[in-house]
Each structure stands twice: as structure tokens, then as C-alpha cells.
């Protein structure tokens, strides 16, 4: 159930190319949330007797059992994220309301997670919670502009070592030489080539709008039905 509360910024990680992760310490334990849910972050002060200020949505990248610390990752893309880049610093306070959203991976099915850039944060909490005994197949296709911007790759590698159910492939649009990343964007044709029995899995897509549109269209053309396609499309 959504709650509004103050958070202190405890750390900011700069990943390059204006991509940042922010660690937030809630003034009280954050409400329960599910992997894939998101929060609203407001930079301006909120008077609880007044209207909620301008805010933006960010996937909660941290795991549901880490309610004393929350993590988000963002790329500077507009006015609000520019303000975040300028104004956020360790020690400063922001207002959060959370949790929201229904982009929740159904772990009872075989799933294929398609993540572009910071969109991967919609899946990181789910991946963190994967157990070694998870009985279903989990595919992750994770792409970014360059291998350096696959900022959650270390987490994916750790989970992959622990859980044989997880098969991950990485993509980068540039600088792939000498890496194990496939060159270019995630494409439906590649996904279908790498996932066995591809019509039996449910696809979850989180990333930039053009990636979502291309993959939705490409997967649909290959016979993936609406019931097997879940997208995390924000405005």
C-alpha cells in the first residue's frame, strides 16, 4: 500500500554517460513492495497537508527485503533528471511515495526478461530473489549503449553462478570488441534464436520506448500473443 516518506540520499554512484544510481535511506522502514514495482521521487519539499509536488517514477532496483535502503538508477534525459543530476548529493533529502505498479514477473512461468539500459532495474529485485532451486527457466537479454553501461552485470553474473535456471546474454551498441557482448540492440530474431521453445515463455520488456516498440512488434510477428507479452512503458 503506497506511503509517502522522506529519504536521505546516502550515496550516488556515477556510471558514466550521465547514468547514476542513488542510494536512499528512508526516515522509517519503507513499505513492503514487490520486485518490479516503482517509486515516485520528488525533489521539492512536500508538506503532508498539501498537494504532492512534481515527481518522476523510478523502478526500485533494490531487493524487497532491503527496506532500510532503497536504490534507483536513472539516466539524464529531461528537465527533472537534469535537476536530479544537479541537486542530489549525499546528505540531501527527497520525498518518496511507493510502491506502485503491476510489472511483476510471474515466477510460475518460464520467462524472458528483455532489458534496455536503466530498464534493467525493473528486474534486478526479481533477479536478486531468485533461488538456486527455481523450477522455471529465466532468460535475461540485457543491452546498453556500451559494455561499461551494463551496470547491473556484476549482479547478473553472481545470480547466474548461483542459479542454473538463469541464462543471460548481454548486448552493447558499441565497444564490444574483446567482450562477450553481442554487438547491436536486442532484436526479436536474436531472442527467438537463443530461447528454446520461444512461444512457451512470457516476455517482459523494460527499456526505452523505441526498444519496447521494436521488440513488441517483432515478437508479435513471430507469434507471441498479448497474454505472453508484458511491457513496462512509462511516458
Amino acid at each position: 500500500m503506497p506511503q509517502k516518506f522522506r529519504c536521505q540520499v546516502t550515496d550516488i554512484l556515477e556510471h558514466g554517460e550521465r547514468v547514476y544510481s542513488v542510494i536512499l535511506k528512508p526516515e522509517k522502514v519503507a513499505p513492503r513492495f514487490l520486485p518490479g514495482q516503482f517509486l515516485h521521487l520528488a525533489l521539492d519539499n512536500y508538506n503532508p497537508g498539501d498537494f504532492w509536488p512534481d515527481s518522476r517514477t523510478f523502478s526500485i532496483a533494490s531487493a524487497p527485503d532491503e527496506r532500510h535502503n532503497l536504490r534507483i538508477t536513472y539516466a539524464v534525459k529531461g528537465q527533472f533528471t537534469s535537476r536530479m543530476e544537479t541537486e542530489l548529493c549525499p546528505g540531501c533529502e527527497v520525498w518518496i511515495k511507493m510502491p506502485y505498479g503491476e510489472f511483476i514477473v510471474n515466477a510460475e512461468n518460464d520467462v524472458c526478461l528483455l532489458a534496455g539500459g536503466t530498464g534493467v532495474t525493473a528486474f534486478t529485485a526479481f533477479l536478486t530473489g531468485l533461488s538456486a532451486e527455481h523450477p522455471r527457466r529465466v532468460f535475461l537479454f540485457y543491452g546498453a549503449r556500451s559494455p561499461d553501461l551494463l551496470i547491473y552485470r556484476p549482479l547478473v553474473d553472481v545470480v547466474q553462478q548461483r542459479c542454473s535456471c538463469l541464462k543471460a546474454r548481454f548486448f552493447a551498441e558499441q565497444d564490444t570488441e574483446g567482450t562477450d557482448c553481442l554487438s547491436g540492440r536486442i532484436e526479436a530474431a536474436i531472442v527467438f534464436g537463443l530461447v528454446s521453445n520461444p512461444l512457451s515463455v512470457t516476455y517482459y520488456i523494460a527499456g526505452p520506448p523505441e526498444m519496447i516498440n521494436e521488440l513488441t512488434s517483432g515478437l508479435g510477428q513471430r507469434g507471441v500473443t498479448q497474454e505472453h507479452l508484458v511491457i513496462d512503458a512509462w511516458e
Binding site: 500500500m1 509517502k4 497537508g49 498539501d50
Partner: protein, 440 residues
């Protein structure tokens, strides 16, 4: 401090003074005061929060509603608590939620049967009828006034989809049996917890066993916000459905005064609406407006802090009344809890025994004439009420005890506003009646 904040602090200080002047320090005068069956129990904090909220002038649900819902859901350990404008509305939302198309094959459909009891408050049953479901009535035990659980299995037929009953007068019904049968027959369970806030069964709070629970905050109840109620669930899908039903049936879950909480306000497809139709005005349920104001919630926040104290005072009053009245057990059936239950008592229920030498109305008339309020056990046998006589229903077994309750049962108060002097007065008044005094 800014001037508006200074003025607010000054006003709230005056409110505290007003409370002291207007309400504090009252004592019971047996010569002229009434022993109420229930009522508001409050101190300056309720008034201060009420005025504080009014000074926000947000009016609709806001910070106090958020706070109450968060604290209340934490208390129950359930992920969803939604304030509504009454316990009856909570029941309406709960039953209607189970008819939602979002539940797929598990949704209730017209004609499906609901196992319940006929002795209780009508709005436990009315949402069954309002949703074109069919109530199947069972009889209740004397003394605890909850369902005779050995009959539930017999009531379950091919159309049975739900068990919806109240923890009557704070007494938990046999949750072992109900939950076992619900699991075995894949039934939904709605706990009408309106009279039982703080009751426990095997140490666990009632309201946390079934799929949905309801609570009332009418002044007669354990805590109050005037008019108010709450509907709770640990199931997030049911939570979204309940919220939608409460908020006009809309799909959007923005709180009042908020926009684009989902981040997809103008980019989704619903029904045959144009793509990107404003999500604020997309309706996925035939809903209601059951919301509270923030002023109601503000009172609720202050009341909730007193809940544990209220519960323990109710229990103490119950024990003291029991001690005062147990000498009359040859003429009265005294209340008791079901096995494994620790009730947060709503009232002290008494049934006049066959051959007592007096009728219920002779006793209640005497008590009322001596300013001790009494109440019948709500509707008695609901099927004898004018509005319910022609409803579609089934009765499994008989309703012998339910009819006895209709004719012989009533209750008096145990609420925290009753102090030792009032209890003493109740005891002496009963003694006068039992010695043969009557209203002339």
C-alpha cells in the same frame, strides 16, 4: 517558525484548553446519568487532530488517511488497508470485489452461494443480495452466538463459493473449521471483523485469516472516526480491486489531487476507448464513492493509538460484569468465548432462559427505565425482517437458536466509557430486578 505555523500551534493549544473545559473530568451520577451501551471515548488528542486536519483544509483523504491506512495495515500485517465511509461499505466493497472480472474464473457470479448466518447485523448479508448471490443460512450457538461450525460442511454445495460471516459481538467464529473447509473446497473467506477489532484466535488477530476483512469505526465500535470503516486484504490484486470499487470504479489509483502516479496516464489502451484516453477517467469496475474525509481519518489516527488500552478495558469490564451477573445464571445465559478465542468484546450478551419467570422485554424495560441502555442482538433472525422475508436463500438445518435470540437475547455495554461506578450501578439494578422489582 512561519506565521501560519505559529497560528496553527496557538489554535491547537486553545483546542486542548477547550477540551479540558468542555469534556474533561466528568463523573457518573447514578441519579441522572445514563449507562450507555457504547459511545465515543476520547481526549484532547482527537479534537486537536480533527482541527489540525481542518486547518489543512484538504478535506478529502490526505495525510491522515495515508497515516491511518499505513498504521492499520501494519497492525494487521496485511499489505492493503483501505479506509471507507462505514463498516457496511467495507462489507459491500469486500463482497463486490470478489465479483471482479479481474479474478478470472475465481470471480463470483450471480447465483453463487455464500455460507453465512441469519443472526447478526443486516449489512453482513445485504452485500450478498446486492451482488445477486444467494445466502445459505446456518444456525448459531447460544452463548457465543457464532455459527454452529459442525453444520458448515453440510451447507457447502456445488454452487458454494464463499464463506462470509461476522465475528459476532467480538467472538471469533470457529476459524479452524472455516479455514479448513475453505481450503478443501476452494472457497473465498470474508471475515466481517466490524465488531471484533483486536480479537484473537489462537493468538492471531481476527481479520487476518480470510481473503478480505472488514472493520467499522462507527461510534459504537472499538475505535471511532464518527462514520468510517476499513477493508483489508493481504492479496495485492484484491487490494487494487477494492481501491477501484471504493474510488468510483476507476482503474487509476492516483490519490485525490494527484496525477499520473502510474507514469502511463496518456499512453494506454482500455476497452474501445481511443488509445491514450486519460487514465484518470478509465473505469474497470461498476464502483462507488465510499471514501472518507481526512478529518475522519485524523480522529481515527488519535483513536488507533488508544486501541490496546480500549481492548483491555473492554476485557476488564466484561470480567467484572460476568462476576456481577453470574449469580443469575439460572435465569440468564451468560456470554462465553469460542474455544481458542480471545475476544475483544463488543458487548455483554445475555439471553433470558426458558422458565426464568420474566421476559426479555420486562428485563430490558426495567434496565432502560433505570437509564441502562440495552440493545437487541441486532436484527435477530434476519429472515423475519420485512426487507428480507422474500429473499432468495437456503437454510441448512434449522434456525432454532436464531429464533431464540430474536425473542430472548439482548446486550449491555462493556465499552471503555463504563467505569467501576457504572458497573456497580448495573449490578445493583440487576439485583433489584431479580428480587422482583418491575417497571410499573
Amino acid at each position: 517558525m512561519k506565521r501560519d505555523a505559529l497560528l496553527r500551534a496557538k489554535i491547537l493549544k486553545l483546542v486542548e484548553e477547550y477540551y479540558q473545559e468542555r469534556f474533561a473530568g466528568r463523573s457518573f451520577d447514578p441519579e441522572k446519568d445514563t449507562v450507555h451501551v457504547a459511545g465515543r471515548v476520547f481526549d484532547a488528542e482527537e479534537l486537536i487532530k480533527l482541527v489540525d486536519s481542518s486547518l489543512d483544509f484538504f478535506l478529502t483523504a490526505n495525510r491522515y488517511s495515508d497515516q491511518f491506512e499505513a498504521e492499520f495495515s501494519e497492525y494487521f500485517g496485511l499489505s492493503n488497508a483501505y479506509l471507507v465511509n462505514s463498516g457496511s461499505s467495507a462489507n459491500l466493497a469486500a463482497l463486490t470485489a470478489l465479483t471482479s472480472p479481474k479474478l478470472g474464473e475465481r470471480r463470483l457470479r450471480p447465483g453463487d452461494e455464500v455460507v453465512t448466518v441469519a443472526a447478526g447485523f443486516p449489512t453482513t448479508v445485504t452485500p450478498i443480495l446486492q451482488n445477486r448471490l444467494v445466502p445459505v443460512f446456518l444456525d448459531v450457538n447460544m452463548g457465543d452466538y457464532t455459527v454452529i461450525s459442525s453444520r458448515i460442511e453440510e451447507a457447502i454445495g456445488p454452487k458454494t463459493r464463499l464463506i462470509a460471516m461476522a465475528h459476532t459481538m467480538g467472538v471469533p467464529f470457529d476459524l479452524d473449521t472455516v479455514m479448513r473447509l475453505a481450503k478443501a473446497h476452494n472457497l473465498w473467506v470474508v471475515e466481517d471483523n466490524c465488531d471484533a477489532l483486536g480479537s484473537r484466535y489462537r493468538g492471531q488477530l481476527t481479520g487476518t485469516f480470510g481473503d478480505i476483512a472488514t472493520v467499522s469505526f462507527y461510534p459504537a465500535h472499538h475505535i471511532t472516526m464518527g462514520e468510517g470503516g476499513c477493508v483489508l486484504t493481504g492479496d495485492d490484486l484484491l487490494g487494487r480491486i477494492l481501491r477501484s470499487l471504493r474510488d468510483w470504479g476507476r482503474d487509476c489509483y492516483c490519490a485525490g489531487g494527484e496525477n499520473n502516479t502510474c507514469g502511463k496516464r496518456f499512453s494506454q489502451q482500455f476497452g474501445t476507448l481511443p488509445h491514450g484516453y486519460d487514465h484518470k477517467y478509465v473505469y474497470s469496475h461498476i464502483g462507488y464513492n465510499l471514501k472518507v474525509t481526512d478529518m475522519q481519518a485524523a480522529v481515527g489516527v488519535a483513536q488507533f493509538r488508544k486501541l490496546e488500552d480500549f481492548i483491555s478495558r473492554r476485557k476488564v469490564n466484561f470480567q467484572k460484569l460476568y462476576a456481577l451477573l453470574e449469580a443469575y445464571q439460572d435465569r440468564l445465559i451468560l456470554p462465553h468465548a469460542t474455544p481458542n478465542a480471545d475476544p475483544s468484546w463488543f458487548g455483554f450478551v445475555l439471553t433470558v432462559r426458558d422458565g426464568a419467570g420474566f421476559t426479555r422485554n420486562e428485563l430490558t424495560s426495567f434496565l432502560e427505565a433505570n437509564r441502562i441502555e440495552t440493545r437487541n442482538l441486532f436484527s435477530g433472525n434476519l429472515l423475519r425482517q420485512p426487507a428480507f422475508m422474500d429473499i432468495e436463500h437456503r437454510v441448512v438445518g434449522d434456525l432454532t437458536n436464531t429464533d431464540l435470540i430474536t425473542g430472548r437475547t439482548f446486550f449491555i455495554g462493556v465499552y471503555p466509557g463504563i467505569d467501576d461506578s457504572q458497573l456497580e450501578y448495573i449490578g445493583s439494578t440487576f439485583a433489584r430486578f431479580m428480587r422482583g422489582e418491575r417497571v410499573v
